[in-house]
């Protein structure tokens, strides 16, 4: 055992010893003892099969217990332990505790039979304990639904092969197939997401979720059975009294001697779940056309993936992953022990309390693991809680529930621990003589926290999404009708002002040009002739000549207009994304838009900033700076400055690439079938970037960060909260 700190005192003797010293008890025959752990840290689990209770013993305690055979007295056993184990022998006090506890569990058989009222009391207590567990600390309600044991017994011959080596091979094969299916249809994954999580689909999702969870729990039950245990309860746990969550009582696995078996039971649920998810992936990939099968498969994959990653495999919450980790590390009861360790370290190191007993830690690595786990798990749980509450609060239909859950969480996770800590600081006898130091340290930590959160300015920013766009775009239109005879430029090609983009052919125009040119020649001849005839004739001929001349000029201009040129330098952009070549042979009417020439030398970013953030960014002091990250450009962020902002909000999603449908960040209004309306009002902001990284095309997505003057975190949080509240009130 690792000695953390030297202990100041043991309690070798107990004044209660006379009560047990002369008795000659022995461990009851029905008690099941299992040895667990590795060579250096063995512990023993005593199980009372009747009440389903477990009691963990240290090696020294087990040594002592082993000596009690019903013939030797407790006192003799203790003396013998002292001789053989020396300082490690259990103290009298520990022995009395141990015996009393075993007696309480009905695990001691002695010279006297177990009294019947004791047995009755124990049964009552077990029932009470179970009932209390059902109510689960006020946050959830558990309702046992079914006893799977008869079914499991019948199915045992099927279950054993599942949890065998060949079962593992089959599982891995299916898993690989599923992953392959996912990998090959990677693109489709994103596009279907919105369709599946649409509110109309919520019931289906809920149903799939509950069924999947039930299947998951069945996995645990099956694993318990396959490895030789029993599972007698599968039920429904109502988390926060609302969300149904199937559960399975797999506690029988605690007595499995091999850690590997316990790990298999703990991961049984996930194995079952991912197995189904893999099959769903294969089916999903094989059904390309939309339909119920595809939707269901997608839901299965989505939900099992999410719950597995967020909850089950994550050891920081006390679900499957926690038990797997605890068994792999060989640290049973890890959560409680990490807390004990943290409490102890705080009291010893920070408060200087010397008389606390160090919790047993077996090795340096166990110490680090417990410490790390203790430090990480509480913040993570808080984070999950805050996330759940804020998601609930953001949805109108769950508002009441969110408030309820939030209030309960606030009391249980924040106020109660604070109150308890304060009471401990003020009243705990442990701190006598160290109280001033304890309070000082606590005050310092609080002060540091207040300074950190409330005084130290932290960088603040608001984020909006936008696109890179040319400041100016000149439309390319034909001024005359005509067939496209020749295409000189491609979409995306860089052109100079005056460069010919298209050549149209219009034989009529050319014919009329020719006709009017011959008219002109005729009128010139007529003019020469009229010079000799008479002044009045001359005037007439001159007029006619001028008229034909202008006709010719017009026709010439029209013919010249058949060559369509770029007006400004820039890049050719075709609306709708078509290629310019496709236009060959097409008939264009005058005024029809053929393409755009975008002024790429002078580009801006147009971003849509959420109505939420708009007042903060633009009314309470303008942003210190704008930083942008442009999709498609390597390297650092680009600076910029704000040119102008739309005076009013609109809900138009200006480019479909910005909507979540296409992987952007604007949520479209689900009621709009065209999906071109945003759920939230947006303000358009135009920003001139410092420079545009080479190679960027207009239309590139940009993430724009409005950097605000630094501000303490507390006031930032407060602002968000008050924004949220005012919005709630407004609605």
């Amino acid at each position: 055992m690792l000695t953390l700190f030297r202990e100041d005192a043991a309690h070798s003797f107990s004044d209660l010893w006379y009560r047990v010293g002369a008795t000659r008890p022995a461990l009851a025959t029905h008690a099941v003892v299992t040895r667990q752990g590795r060579d250096d840290r063995v512990s023993y689990v005593v199980e009372d099969p009747a009440a389903g209770q477990f009691y963990r013993l240290t090696e020294a305690a087990y040594y002592f217990l082993g000596m009690l055979d019903g013939r030797r007295s407790v006192d003799d056993a203790w003396q013998a332990c002292n001789v053989q184990l020396g300082d490690d022998a259990p103290t009298q006090r520990e022995c009395v505790d141990l015996l009393a506890k075993l007696q309480l569990f009905g695990l001691l058989a002695g010279d006297q039979p177990l009294s019947p009222d004791m047995v009755e009391r124990r049964r009552r207590e077990a029932v009470k304990k179970r009932r209390k567990k059902r109510l689960g600390m006020g946050m959830s309600l558990t309702i046992p639904v079914v006893n799977p044991e008869p079914f499991l017994v019948r199915a045992e011959y099927l279950l054993r092969p599942i949890f065998s080596r060949w079962g593992l091979v089959a599982y891995l094969a299916v898993l690989v197939m599923g992953l392959y299916a996912l990998a090959t249809h990677w693109r489709d994954l994103g596009t279907q997401l919105n369709q599946v999580i649409a509110p109309s689909n919520l019931w289906l999702l809920g149903l799939v979720f509950v069924l999947l969870r039930a299947w998951h729990e069945l996995g645990h039950a099956a694993a318990v059975k396959a490895l030789g245990g029993r599972c007698t309860e599968i039920g429904l746990m109502l988390i926060a009294f609302v969300f149904p969550f199937p559960y399975c009582d797999a506690s029988d696995s605690w007595r499995f001697p091999r850690a590997r078996d316990r790990i298999i039971v703990a991961s049984g649920g996930m194995l079952f779940e991912t197995f189904v998810a893999a099959i769903a992936a294969v089916v999903w990939a094989a059904t390309p056309e939309p339909g119920p099968v595809r939707t269901v498969c997608y839901s299965v994959m989505l939900l099992s993936g999410l719950t597995t990653i967020l909850f089950n495999i994550n050891p920081l919450l006390r679900y499957d992953g926690y038990y797997i980790l605890a068994d792999m590390a060989g640290i049973p009861n890890m959560w409680q022990r990490s807390r004990d360790l943290l409490t102890f370290l705080t009291e010893r190191l920070a408060f200087g309390v010397r008389d606390t007993k160090a919790p047993p830690v077996w090795s340096r690595s166990e110490f680090s693991l417990l410490l790390a786990y203790g430090l990480a798990s509480t913040p993570y749980r808080l984070f999950v809680m805050v996330a759940i509450v804020s998601i609930l609060l953001s949805r109108d239909e769950y508002l009441g529930l969110g408030v309820l859950v939030g209030a309960v969480a606030l009391v249980m996770w924040v106020l109660y621990p604070i109150g308890k800590g304060a009471a401990h600081l003020i009243l705990s006898p442990k701190l006598t003589g160290r109280r001033a130091r304890a309070m000082g340290v606590t005050a310092l930590v609080l002060l540091a926290l207040i300074v950190l959160l409330g005084v130290m300015p932290a960088p603040a920013s608001s984020v909006a999404t936008g696109t890179l766009e040319p400041r100016r775009e000149s439309p390319v239109r034909s001024e005359v009708d005509g067939f496209v005879a020749q295409v000189h430029a491609r979409a995306g090609q860089r052109v100079e002002a005056g460069e010919i983009l298209l050549t149209l052919a219009n034989p009529d125009l050319e014919a009329s040009l020719r006709a009017s040119e011959s008219d002109l020649a005729a009128s010139e001849v007529a003019l020469d002739a009229a010079l000799a005839i008479s002044p009045s004739e001359l005037l007439l001929a001159r007029t006619r000549h001028a008229a034909t001349l202008s006709q010719v000029e017009l026709a010439r201009a029209q013919v010249a207009a058949l060559k369509i040129r770029a007006v400004i330098p820039g890049v050719v952009v075709i609306p709708g994304g078509a290629r310019l070549d496709d236009a060959l042979g097409m008939y264009l009417r005058a005024g029809e838009l053929i393409a755009l020439v975008a002024g790429v030398d002078d580009m801006v970013v147009r971003a849509s900033i959420d109505d939420h953030d708009q007042p903060h960014v633009f009314r309470e002091g303008s942003p210190v700076g704008v930083r942008m990250r442009l999709r498609g450009a390597a390297g650092d962020e680009v600076g910029g400055w704000i040119d102008r902002m739309a005076p009013a909000a609109s809900r138009e999603i200006r480019r479909s690439s910005l909507s979540t449908d296409a992987g952007g960040e604007l949520t479209p209004d689900p009621t709009d079938p065209k999906r071109g309306t945003s759920l939230r009002p947006l303000f358009l902001v135009e920003i001139t970037p410092e420079f545009v990284p080479a190679g960027l095309q207009p239309g590139a997505r940009a993430r724009v960060k409005f950097v605000m003057p630094a501000e303490p975190l507390l006031s930032q949080w407060w602002r968000r909260l008050s924004q949220y509240l005012t919005e709630r009130v407004r609605r």
């Binding site: 202990e7 100041d8 005192a9 043991a10 309690h11 070798s12 003797f13 004044d15 209660l16 010893w17 006379y18 009560r19 047990v20 010293g21 002369a22 008795t23 006192d75 203790w78 003396q79 002292n82 001789v83 020396g86 300082d87 490690d88 009298q92 009395v96 015996l99 009393a100 506890k101 007696q103 309480l104 002695g110 006297q112 177990l114 009294s115 004791m118 009391r121 010397r354 008389d355 009243l427 705990s428 006898p429 006598t432 003589g433 109280r435 001033a436």
Partner: protein, 668 residues
């Protein structure tokens, strides 16, 4: 039908004893504790209500009995008694019984019970703890509920803190009980078993708590392991077990039915977790540690403070230095194997050293007739027959140069709390219960009922006099005593420990004042000293012994001079103890005054005073300006000290309950 030869050998008086299996309440855990607290709060609020109309009725019924002749009164009592026995919970029957009790008290003592006393009696008969202000006459109040329960014929134990008080109270009340047809028994130390049995067989038994509890333990040692009805019937059915049957004739008690606890806070709370232990040589073999404790006590001599160990006075703990550890390790080589490891040997040694340096003669114990007697923390009385546990007693004996006693191992043990919980009915009375109302409820389901005083209290309680050092304080106190003495007012100086009381007496003697000293080492003169303490010009220096139950009657001149002046030399850990001491002055509307002299060197402040406050007080010149300022530090320290004691009691009680529950079929 069994014939005469098979007549049960156990007489009828034992049936209730056997039938009550002493079921223990299960200790509560987790949220249940809060639930019990909430429901308890509601239940207490209901029980606390006073009912003036009912008291009026009792008083008028009592007044109507005034003119009855002795014989007529006796026959009236007989009628009331039958009614009360039949209808124990009937309001009317109880009212009539109380009226008869009221009249009996008047006839026997020539005192009329005040309405407030009847209030208290009613509360007690409801199973509450009555808080009557000090000096309101608790002794005669208890007659009413005691007689009511006594009529049931199952025995009522009126428990008080010592034999002297039990004797005195029994004498005071005997006549009234006689008029009510109730026989009274008294227990005292050294009574032989037949007399004890007779005392227990009386309807009402006055006794010190320790008498009853040790009789209970001795009876349990005599009786079979599980004195249940089933066990008794079995032994009746198996005649060959004749030898064992005799136990029925050897026990002295006849079961625990009703207890009326005087000084309830002292017995029910302060003593709650004190174990009463019967030890014998037979138990020694089982104890195991005796030999090691003796060794440790002797070894402790060789270690020196500073070099080998350091003392943490705040935590009351001794720690070995590396030098001391090394010394111990070398010594351990020549000691029994048990001493081989550092963990055990250090524990034994530090306990022994701690007993030497932390327990002080004249404060924690005194030596009389070659024996170490423990002095009670809150009553200031010596506790003969009581020993510290786990080697401490041996170490103290070694320090005093007395022969080190073998630690006789326990053979039977019960905590006061566990014992009181075995009664079917418990009620209590005391002058100071408000501070422990919570604990009384949690441990015994006793609601505390505060009864107002009969006459308004005119006792002055000026703010504490604050000093920096103990010496300054004692000198100022002596000057004050001199002043009051000159005015012919009787003065009672309350000291915390024996040594201080002697020191003050010496200081007063130097000023020419002859003070009577009342402390645990001079217990014999108690009655005489108390009797003189109320005379004009009397100066008495006492430990907390002069707290509970001490009735200092003022002489007319003394009342003229302004009544008794109580000067406390320190504030006690528990505010209740201060209130008890202060309550000696201004009893029943008498004039009087009480004031505490405190210093920053007091034990209370040293151990429980927040450092920051102490430091601030050091800046203030002595002679504090206001009541708040004078009391703030002491209030805070008392609060912390009480909380500390409360936590310790709760922890011990919890462990005790838990163990008892687990072991309750392993007997004793």
């Amino acid at each position: 039908m069994p014939d005469a030869a098979h007549r049960p050998s156990v007489d009828r008086r034992l049936w209730s004893f056997l039938a009550a299996p002493g079921e223990r309440r299960e200790p509560l855990r987790g949220a249940d504790v809060f639930g019990a607290r909430a429901s308890g709060f509601a239940a207490r609020a209901r029980a606390r209500r006073l009912d003036p109309a009912r008291v009026e009725r009792i008083l008028s019924l009592g007044a109507a009995l005034r003119d009855h002749s002795a014989a007529a009164f006796a026959s009236h009592v007989e009628g009331v008694r039958e009614l009360a026995v039949l209808r124990h919970d009937d309001v009317d029957a109880v009212d009539r019984a109380f009226a008869a009790g009221f009249e009996a008290v008047r006839r026997a003592t020539a005192l009329s019970l005040h309405p407030v006393q009847v209030h208290a009696a009613l509360a007690m008969s409801r199973g509450c703890c009555a808080e009557l202000a000090t000096g309101e006459g608790k002794t005669i109040t208890a007659i009413l509920p005691a007689a009511l329960d006594a009529w049931q014929g199952r025995g009522v134990h009126v428990l008080t803190v010592n034999d002297y008080l039990a004797q005195r109270d029994a004498e005071t009340t005997k006549e009234a009980y006689r008029l009510l047809g109730v026989r009274v028994g008294v227990l005292s130390d050294g009574m032989p078993p037949p007399e004890r049995r007779a005392a227990y067989n009386a309807d009402v038994t006055y006794a010190a708590d320790k008498q009853v509890i040790f009789d209970y333990l001795r009876d349990r040692l005599v009786s079979p392991l599980a004195p249940r009805l089933a066990g008794l019937l079995l032994s009746e059915l198996a005649p060959e077990a004749k030898e064992k049957d005799r136990w029925g004739e050897r026990v002295v008690q006849r079961g625990l039915y009703s207890a009326i606890v005087d000084e309830a806070d002292s017995i029910l709370v302060d003593e709650a977790v004190t174990p009463a232990i019967i030890s014998s040589a037979k138990g020694q073999a089982e104890a195991g540690g005796a030999e090691h404790f003796r060794l440790a006590a002797m070894l402790a001599d060789r270690f020196e403070e500073g070099r080998d160990y350091t003392i943490d006075h705040v935590q009351r703990r001794v720690r070995l230095t590396p030098v001391g550890r090394a010394a111990l390790a070398t010594m351990a080589a020549h000691l029994p194997a048990f001493w081989a490891g550092p963990r055990r040997s250090e524990e034994l040694l530090t306990t022994a050293i701690g007993a030497r340096v932390l327990y002080m003669r004249g404060r924690d114990y005194l030596v009389r007739d070659g024996e170490v007697l423990i002095v009670d923390r809150s009553t200031g009385r010596a506790l003969p027959g009581r020993q510290w546990q786990l080697g401490i007693h041996q170490a103290v004996e070694a320090k005093e140069g007395l022969p080190v006693s073998a630690d006789s191992g326990p053979v039977a043990r019960i905590s006061y709390r566990g014992f009181i919980q075995r009664y079917r009915r418990v009620s209590g009375m005391t002058g100071t219960a408000a501070e422990v109302a919570h604990e009384l409820w949690e441990a015994y389901q006793l609601p505390v009922v505060r009864v107002p005083t009969h006459k308004p209290v005119v006792r002055e309680e000026p703010p504490d006099q604050v000093f920096h050092t103990r010496q300054e304080k004692l000198e100022a106190l002596a000057v004050r005593v001199e002043q009051e003495h000159a005015r012919e007012r009787p003065v009672l100086v309350g000291a915390w420990d024996i040594a201080t009381s002697e020191q003050i007496a010496a200081m007063l003697a130097a000023r020419g004042i002859q003070a009577s000293v009342l402390n645990a080492s001079r217990e014999a003169d108690e009655a005489a000293i108390v009797a003189r303490a109320g005379e004009a010009g009397a100066v008495t220096v006492a430990t907390n012994m002069a707290g509970r139950g001490t009735d200092i009657r003022l002489s007319p001149e003394a009342r003229e001079a302004g009544g008794l002046v109580v000067l406390a030399t320190e504030r006690h850990d528990e505010r209740r103890v201060d209130r008890q001491l202060f309550g000696r002055a201004g009893r029943q509307g008498d004039p009087g005054m009480a004031q505490a002299y405190v210093s920053l060197e007091d034990r209370l402040i040293q151990r429980h005073g927040p450092r920051v406050l102490v430091w601030l007080y050091r800046l203030v010149p002595p002679g504090a300006p206001s009541r708040l300022c004078a009391s703030l530090l002491w209030r805070v320290a008392q609060h912390l000290a009480s909380a500390r004691w409360r936590t310790i009691r709760a922890e011990v009680a919890k462990a005790d309950d838990w163990f008892e529950m687990a072991m309750h079929n392993v007997a004793r």
